[in-house]
């Protein structure tokens, strides 16, 4: 076990995987000479050379396009798109090609690529640079969407993403790169894609979150516990495939659920989780399921306004109290 920042964890996981498999190549804006905007590809160029670690022009369409084409043709590219807001320029390539080339051609082609990107607000970047929109990609059959909440999971899931033969959107929360965690040293430490994890158990309310909101939810749970309200907190870790099993199991005990996401509630992850619970567990529902999410507005630059719009520990505490009472 080594204590690492999330940025360092990603760089380490990438290096370990590149050491293992020569077909793994890294491309993106500023990933080589400067080690990535967030330092998540630091050291790779020196270690693996310019054929395997490639800076690209500011051309999101062809970053994703070159990755898909190369993946079809035997490489295992890990592409970095500087931010998920910029990935909109690559959206056609991701949803119309990465997600489709396997099925549309009757299984002839494979697309073993990872597209790493960052998501989330909280940095006073204004509305176009602060969105949390990974759930959009989770809409599409053919893609896998992973968004870990901590350093250990970053390692296990990034490695799993690189090793799977399917295209994976790997989404990192932009304010979390310097967060530290204990990371297993095992070069084959893998976590399964499509498994959520119970982070804390309690009998009153099931709180479902992923990425940065797992930490927020755990803080809220600790707060609530002081008043005797015990929450189960579940980290989805993967948005597609979505593992509902621990959520259903917990909900059958707690009969209450709050979902927490950094994106907007409308058509979001919480909506999906709630719909599934209503479909499968209607007899266990004691109160309406609540969704905590970013307020339904574009994010503002001004610090207080941005903080007001984003989901907070207090928002989760309040939602759980309202649900269980």
């Amino acid at each position: 076990m080594t204590t690492l920042t999330i940025a360092k964890t990603i760089a380490t996981a990438l290096a370990e995987e590149m050491e293992r498999d020569r077909n793994i190549v890294v491309l993106g804006e500023e990933v080589a000479a400067f080690g990535g905007t967030y330092g998540a590809t630091q050291g790779l160029l020196d270690r693996f050379g310019p054929d395997r670690v490639k800076d690209t022009p500011i051309s999101e369409g062809i970053i994703a396009g070159a990755a898909v084409g190369a993946a079809m043709n035997g490489l295992r590219p890990v592409a970095e798109i500087m931010g998920i807001n910029f990935a909109f320029l690559a959206m056609d390539m991701i949803v119309n090609h990465a997600a489709k080339v396997h099925s549309m051609f009757g299984g002839q082609f494979r697309c073993p690529m990872v597209l790493r990107t960052t998501s989330g607000g909280g940095r006073q970047l204004g509305s176009t640079h602060s969105q949390t929109v990974e759930h959009l990609y989770a809409h599409f059959p053919g893609l896998k969407v992973v968004s870990p909440s901590n350093a250990r999971d970053m390692k296990g899931l990034l490695k799993a993403a690189i090793r799977t033969d399917d295209p994976v959107m790997f989404v990192e929360q932009a304010t979390m790169y310097s967060e530290k965690g204990d990371v297993p040293d095992d070069v084959d430490f893998l976590l399964p894609i499509g498994k959520s994890e119970v982070k804390r158990e309690g009998r009153h309310c099931t709180v479902v979150a992923y990425s940065k909101m797992v930490g927020v939810s755990l803080k809220a749970a600790a707060e609530l516990a002081k008043d005797g309200i015990e929450c189960t907190v579940i980290d989805l870790r993967t948005l597609r495939p979505l593992d509902m099993d621990p959520i259903v199991d917990s909900f059958k005990q707690t009969n209450h659920c709050v979902t927490v996401e950094e994106s907007w509630a409308m058509y979001g992850v919480g909506a999906e989780v709630a719909a599934r619970l209503y479909e499968t567990c209607l007899d266990y529902v004691d109160a309406p399921i609540k969704r905590v999410a970013t307020k339904d507005v574009p994010l503002a630059y001004s610090g207080p306004l941005e903080r007001y719009a984003l989901p907070s520990v207090d928002d989760v505490v309040k939602a759980v109290r309202e649900t269980v009472n």
Binding site: P57, S59, N96, H97, V101, F105, G107, P141, G142
Partner: protein
Amino acid sequence: MATTTPTKSKRAATENAATPLSNEELLRLYKQMVEIRLFEEKCEELYQKGKIGGFMHLYIGQEATGVGTIAARRPDDNIITGYRDHGAALACGMSARVAMAEMMGRVDGCSKGKGGSMHLADINLKFWGGHAIVGAQIALGTGLAWAEQYKKTGAVTLAYFGDGASNIGYFHESLNLAKVWNLPIVYICENNKYGMWTPVEKVSATTSMAHKAVSYDIPSDIADGMDLLDVYAKTQKAIEHCRNGNGPYFLEIVTYRYRGHSMGDQRAYRTAEEIKKWQADDPIGKFEDVLLKAGIDPTAIDAVDDEVKAMIEDAVAFADASPFPALDEIYTDITIE
């Protein structure tokens, strides 16, 4: 050749003229062009009958482009194109049977009936499709080329697209990256003068496609798409350029589609004279003359025509006998793990 499209060669020439190809090869390429044309004429018929659905874009008139370029490739060179893909598929060696079964959505189609007319592909022929989002194949082809460069295979990628696609972001991003990374790829613009119903001069800042390569410092050439030998020679040169590690190359091939953009296109955006003028320069008729000049016996040409006709009938019978995929097939091949 007897087709619903006039192509008849003048059959005037009798003297032997030198070509870069053996007579056997000339006949083989002639046969491919006839196969594409008859295949598509049959597809039109089947479409009218409701046996083929979806969007269907015919290549008729452009045969020399696909056949002439693909004839110049090594078998391990990659081919990737857009939705107007029947010509490339057949020229790459896909059997008319398998292609027709795909057209008809049958289980024996190249993509098990999941792709249809616009998404023919065969990985074993290094024919990577058939892509119906305009310009995407330019980007995907760039990625294919990158993989070949990385693997040091020496294989070159030929990526085809239309004049219309030269206005899309993928085009510009791809050319720029290919130059920066020195990728072994020939960008082949099939300039058939229209993107759907819009003439190139209305939507493109320059009507010269080759000119667009200039700002990316990519060398280019222009070929006469109605002349297979010109297409072949210029493609050879282009491929050699790439194979020798000189980076990307751009080939504009000036051609014309006789039919509408896709089935059911009755719009009046070009004159009958214009279409007639191009048909007078038909690539198959013209190539027939090349064959005759090379001393190939007219009866040998007729024999090829008959052979292809029988082949297409056989392909239709095969496709028709092939079942639709089982309904549960929809759940397969979505992800691997």
